[in-house]
Assembly symmetry: D3
Homo-oligomer: 166 residues x 6
């Protein structure tokens, strides 16, 4: 029996814990938290940013994202695919909206003086997220430093050092 | 040549004019306002509500909607399709989220003491909106009162009177 | 074990009971009646109309409809979405075909002298249907007359009266 | 400027010319005849059958079909894909409905005493149709009899003879 | 628990048994053999051809195919839908690629001196395949020779003879 | 006028130039090279790998990939999305097939003694590709080292050094 509660999620106004290396926090409202989204191809997130915090470069493998700034100032950007790899950025203030196309690497950085808050919607009920640094250097098990040294064109020691952070 | 501005819309924090019979205002950010949304199946709106205002019963013919309350208190609801026509409602406070399934008749009413504001996302870059009262009683030209009197099971005079309001 | 019967429905030539306030009857052949339609995105209905009968204003939340008149004469129409709310109508005779775009409010009225019959197909195996008057004024529980009075711009007494019919 | 006529097609009640080798005629109402179907994923056909006529084995490469008998009696059938190639058939009378799944080889044969008529809808605005005998033996230019002799496991002379009919 | 093996299929380099009337063999790698393809809308096949062998005229009811020649020389072709039934053919050598649009009748014939091998991908995780001769003349049970004689415009004896081969 | 050449691409057997930092080369056959793929949701690539070469970690933002080894030995892998970031790997020999789910970071490394060759198909006619190192450290203009230092948790000097390679 479906009921109104299945279509309701409460508390997206609450700041998550941003006391972490990147200084941000994402609260997800997708089909895992809100079963009423099932089959509907849409979901929502709140992103809180501490001063100097960022939502580090990441992709959503199954969704385009539309984001609106609720509080503070953000530098936002995404990089187009091969072989141009063009970086598109904008500075957003409260009430400004930006689109991150499906699957592209994108980020947001708090460039104001206090906390910043954004609400974003994604075009999938289960969009997924891949934080690039974590997936590349912090996978379980690790990708061999052999592969990453060649990909990033640095010595294995540099790779090993970055991997040790994750 | 695509540029960052094509993915940007500014000013969704501004209250639209709610000085109208239903006491609300919708600011749309779909592919018509934000060309970067093209082919991506998502869009956004801001809804402002004066005290006692409402977003009157309406449908989105091509999208499911997920809404979050930014300010104030809302009574939200939708009616399921034939033949149950079950009404699902919830009272939402700041930070609460609700889902309106594709094509169903839904509404929001400001039940707080001041203005209310919601941000909502829709699962289409061009979701459309049909305000029931306006489409049924205010179409151009009018639907004949003959048809509406039988549909709503009232005298034609009642239909004529409602039609005269639109 | 799938068998030929799973792809068969019998008796769509039979007139349903049109002895009701709107004077029409819809026989549905969707995935609930015909399991062979599963995953195929199509279904069918037969609509019978008594003299002066109508298929009252309604929407299909998940489908476009294509209708052909088998017998009699119909006035058909649909209303476009906000903010134009333009009414498109046509008079159809036997053998005439009309399209009702997905999610728009549409209706058919018997404008001939005898019964009328139409066959229509819908672009979903489970298209749903929302009869506007029933969903708005006859939901369970009722939508508050406060909301509807403002939406339809009439006194609550008018709303209460219409609600009492459903 | 869109207008009501764009959503209208007239005359699907008329019998097409069935004076041809297979004794049937298909009147199409797809996006080529009815522009209002554009993007909506649905279309319609009328099929008329002379006595002993058939709608010869064919496929619709982009659509599932749902058919209702308007007049007469039909034997209908389709064959499942490799390697079962199971034939599913039914005898349909007036008002009976049958589903032909997307891409499968299907046919209808008039098994009554007079003309038969069916209305069918297809889950594409441009479903296409491939009459097997015509495409295999009557293509322009011809498929080499070398290939067809091996495929049908008969002498080239048999192939040449069938090809000469198309 | 998903594991790497769910995304792996081994042995597509092996020649299947081509000792059959058409002199070819198809090894399928779709969701039935490779569960990791589930929901992803793609699959693969290897086709081996003996000298003079062919992949007889067939359709894929739910997929477009892109094929690359790994070894040998192939004549490939497809026939467009009604009413043109135009045959498009090409001779392919090692490394050449060809596209067979969804649902159209297509074939490949080994026109080199030794074996030929192709790898093809299909735009469905479960594309299906219908070998025309087998489905039309070898279904279980048989399509009546009455129907096929009229469709192919030959005597029933010819039909009976072809049917007896399958 | 469509013709057979529109469905043909020649020369996918040729080794591209692998004399580059990662020791591999991708030849694309998507809708840009092969117009006959338009609207069909599928495309193909050939990947050549020098000894010790790799197809560096990358994503396809709009497609799942299915790959078969034509020659040589490959270590292949992908990393699941947040927060597990599980690495799935397999060693593939000639004839082995592997699936890379849509949007996930994946790679292949030549682990044999000579060149390696793979053919892969993708579930989009225009799948796109994002080589992680190039997009993150080699975009135009660069992402600020401020952002990347925090994301990868290293000093800006390390970021500057990696950026200088691209």
């Amino acid at each position: 029996m479906v009921k109104a509660e299945d279509f309701t999620f409460r508390g997206l106004n609450k700041m998550g814990d941003t006391n972490n290396p990147v200084g941000s926090n994402v609260t997800q409202v997708n089909v895992n938290q809100l079963p009423g989204l099932n089959t509907f191809g849409i979901s929502m997130v709140r992103i809180g940013y501490a001063p100097y915090g960022q939502n580090a470069p990441h992709t959503h493998p199954r969704a385009t994202e539309i984001l609106v700034v609720i509080e503070g100032s953000l530098l936002v950007g995404f990089v187009t695919s091969n072989t141009d790899n063009k970086l598109f950025t904008q500075r957003l203030e409260k009430g400004d909206v930006f689109v991150f196309p499906e699957g592209l690497i994108d980020f947001q950085q708090n460039v104001g003086h206090g906390n910043a808050v954004a609400i974003a919607a994604l075009s999938s009920q289960n969009p997924g997220a891949i934080t690039i640094a974590n997936a590349v250097f912090g996978s379980d098990p690790k990708i061999s430093d052999d592969i990453l040294a060649k990909a990033f064109q640095v010595d294995k020691e540099v790779i090993d050092k970055i991997q040790s952070n994750f």
